[in-house]
């Protein structure tokens, strides 16, 4: 059984302008020790998917349906008390902005101790020792002294380490990282990614990495889900997605990426803007921006189904297999380019 299995997850927000379908039928699963990358542009629903799994959406205007089975238990129907038991204990989350997700009026030590004591009957001394151990593990220099510092006394990269320490303090089985390195510089990003990889290997946790950076997922993910306008458009192993991408949106993402190792005269760009989720386009949601659009795309929403010959590689596009293979090969050739 998968550690987490998400089936046909839908999250709708009712707003003054109408219903925003922020997540519309998303399914994926993740095993213990695996890393799943969720890729997509802002507004594609990747963060809301994870907030829904964690039960962190505002109740007032949210309607969720589907299933999110964590070790066989449906998180969507779980009672708030049960969710509180799980959160920060078996499932932990690292948020994008470490400044706004730490409490500015408490020392980091106090916040870490609180996280431990909530989920165990450790004494304050034991919890503090555990907190110190974690701070050392995530590579905070002079941790014995820094444990009594306030969040504003740390730099961005150090704060993100504190967040990681806090999320790992109870050895979670599932770690959800929502753009954990987006606000950081490349050198710090490299440090944080190396840290997450090392700790994952140590604790055999599963990691869901939400990001818009294809470079980051290529380096650390085993499987990838590509989201566009609240839906999954493609999913598969990292090699499937990078070596034989099957969806025009994935092609667009890869073509529009400036690269370090090749010179290109002009980036392939996806024309137009991401659609509004208040009134998503009919048929395939990518059709207004798709260069391969056909008549059927305007009316019929393509189903997410396996690529012929590969059960684990899913894609949602009406194009025929031959054209796809040809186009993917052309794109990869262009990307490899002149080095």
């Amino acid at each position: 059984m998968a550690l987490l299995e998400v089936k046909d997850l839908k999250t709708y927000f009712s707003t003054g302008d109408g219903v925003v379908k922020a997540v519309d039928g998303v399914s994926f699963s993740i095993e213990k020790g695996e890393t799943l990358g969720i890729v997509g542009e802002s507004g594609s629903g990747k963060s809301v998917t994870c907030l829904t799994i964690m039960g962190l959406n505002a109740k007032r205007n949210t309607i969720s349906s589907g299933e999110a089975l964590f070790k066989g238990e449906d998180l969507l129907t779980a009672k708030p008390g049960r969710l509180r038991e799980l959160r920060g204990n078996e499932i932990a989350m690292i948020f994008q902005d470490p400044m706004t997700s730490l409490n500015p009026v408490h020392t980091v030590g106090k916040q870490l101790v609180e996280a431990v004591q909530l989920h165990s009957d450790m004494s304050k001394q034991q919890a503090r020792a555990r907190a110190l151990e974690l701070l050392k593990q995530v590579g905070i220099p002079r941790a014995e002294r820094r444990i009594d510092d306030y969040p504003h006394q740390f730099s961005g990269g150090m704060r993100q380490r504190v967040m990681i320490a806090m999320s790992l303090i109870n050895n979670p089985d599932l770690l959800i990282a929502d753009e954990p390195t987006t606000a950081l510089d490349v050198t710090t990003q490299a440090q944080i990614l190396a840290l997450i990889e090392r700790l994952q290997a140590e604790y055999n946790s599963a990691v869901i990495m939400i990001t818009h950076d294809l470079g980051v997922v290529a380096e650390i993910a085993d499987d990838i889900v590509v989201m566009y306008a609240a839906e999954v458009v493609e999913g598969g192993s990292v090699d499937d997605i990078f070596h034989s991408p099957h969806h025009p949106y994935t092609w667009g993402l890869m073509g529009s990426l400036p690269r370090l190792n090749t010179d290109v005269d002009r980036l392939a760009q996806i024309s137009g803007q991401p659609p509004s989720l208040l009134r998503p386009p009919s048929g395939c949601r990518f059709h207004p921006r798709c260069p391969y659009v056909m008549e059927i795309c305007r009316t019929v929403d393509p189903e997410l189904k396996p690529v012929p010959g590969d059960q684990n590689h899913l894609q949602a596009c009406h194009l025929d297999e031959a054209t796809k293979e040809q186009e993917a090969a052309r794109l990869l050739g262009a990307v490899a380019g002149v080095s």
Partner: protein, 361 residues
């Protein structure tokens, strides 16, 4: 300034196509103490001795981590901040000490595009007004001409000219950045300073904006100073690249030289830290992970400012004798690096990265 640097400046002066020359630019922000009798106790050395030349029609990329002084440098060049020391020459004329009125004719030729497309447009003004503002400040054209020009500009940057009367909030992030570009183009500038113009945008929109900037450059013969922290983006757009660390230029080279054969260990670390969107490369690659954070620019490390994090640090040399930004035997004279122990080749293994041999300038 070193011999090689002044030589380089002289050389480009002789060729006569340089648009902007920056010489030994410094910007210190004083830190004062005391409630009533404020006295200066220290200074943030945001930019400390930066020299470079920008030739007409080229794009200079500036990369570095946050806090390295790249934005402060841009604001000094635009005279939005008063430099503490050094000179800025625009078309051979020293503009460092010009008053606001004297500066005005130069403002028409130098424009800026800002990072945050949400914060850099006045939310209470219509797009037509925002784009036309520079024309009105410089008293160019009659109202009818201004309107025609604005609509033309909106079309040039790929927006619907009919949207003249809309407010900024009616546009998406990418469209707002296009408005920012239209505004910068309004008075036909020569030089555009782009401060992280695509960092706030999604990849697909980022590609649109980068392509647009390239098209406009070839159409109007623009010169760009392009500041970014994303090395991939800088590679795509730049002809030459400056790498900054703690207020100084640590390496300066053409695009090909810098990306294929970096000389400074910091540049090497930056390049190896960038995630590569190719799983085969990513898995087999060894990153050079730098220890710690960027030190404080209030009290920068002695001699070589990178020595506290450098894998090639040699005690008694790097922390005593400051390296100069110079070219060396066997590499092109356009390729300058501020390091006693430059990288021999690229890529290097972790082991090789640690063992450097001193190369005399």
């Amino acid at each position: 300034m070193t011999g090689a640097q002044s030589e380089m400046v002289l050389e480009s002066r002789a060729s006569g196509d340089e648009l902007l020359v920056v010489e030994d630019l410094q910007k210190y922000f004083p830190i004062s103490q005391g409630m009533i009798f404020q006295r200066q106790s220290a200074a943030v050395q945001a930019v400390d001795g930066v020299s470079f030349t920008v030739r007409e029609g080229e794009t200079i990329g500036v990369v570095g981590e946050s806090g390295c002084g790249k934005s402060t440098m841009a604001r000094c060049i635009m005279k939005l901040l008063e430099p503490t020391g050094g000179r800025i020459l625009y078309r051979g004329r020293d503009i460092t000490k010009l008053s606001r009125t004297e500066m005005r004719p130069y403002r028409r030729e130098m424009m800026m595009i800002f990072q945050d497309p949400y914060a850099s447009l006045n939310p209470r003004k219509r797009v037509g007004f925002i784009v036309a503002e520079a024309l009105e400040v410089h008293k160019i054209g009659t109202p009818a001409e201004v309107k025609r020009r604005v609509q033309e500009l909106l079309e040039v940057v790929g927006l619907n000219p009919e949207h003249y009367n809309r407010f900024p909030h009616e546009f998406s992030g990418g469209q707002r950045q296009r408005i920012g570009i239209a505004r910068a183009l309004a008075v036909n500038p020569k030089l555009i300073v782009c401060d992280e113009p695509v960092s706030a945008l999604d990849v697909s929109v980022q590609a649109q904006i980068l392509n647009l900037l390239k098209d406009l450059q070839s159409e109007f013969g623009l010169t760009y100073i392009f500041i970014a922290h994303d090395l991939n983006v800088v590679r795509y757009i730049s002809d030459r690249v400056l790498v900054m660390y703690l207020g100084q230029i640590v390496e300066s080279a053409t695009r090909a030289e810098l990306y294929n054969d970096p000389k400074h260990p910091y540049t090497g670390a930056l390049l190896s830290a960038v995630p590569v969107p190719d799983p085969d490369v990513g898995r087999n690659r060894k990153r050079i992970v730098l220890e710690g954070d960027v030190p404080s620019p209030i009290n920068p490390p002695s001699a070589c400012r990178f020595h506290t994090r450098c894998p090639r640090f040699v005690e008694g040399h790097c922390d005593v004798e400051p390296p100069e930004l110079v070219s060396r035997a066997g590499i092109p004279s356009s390729h300058l690096a501020r390091c006693h122990y430059p990288l021999e080749r690229w890529p290097l293994s972790e082991e090789e990265m640690r063992r450097g041999r001193a190369v005399p300038a």
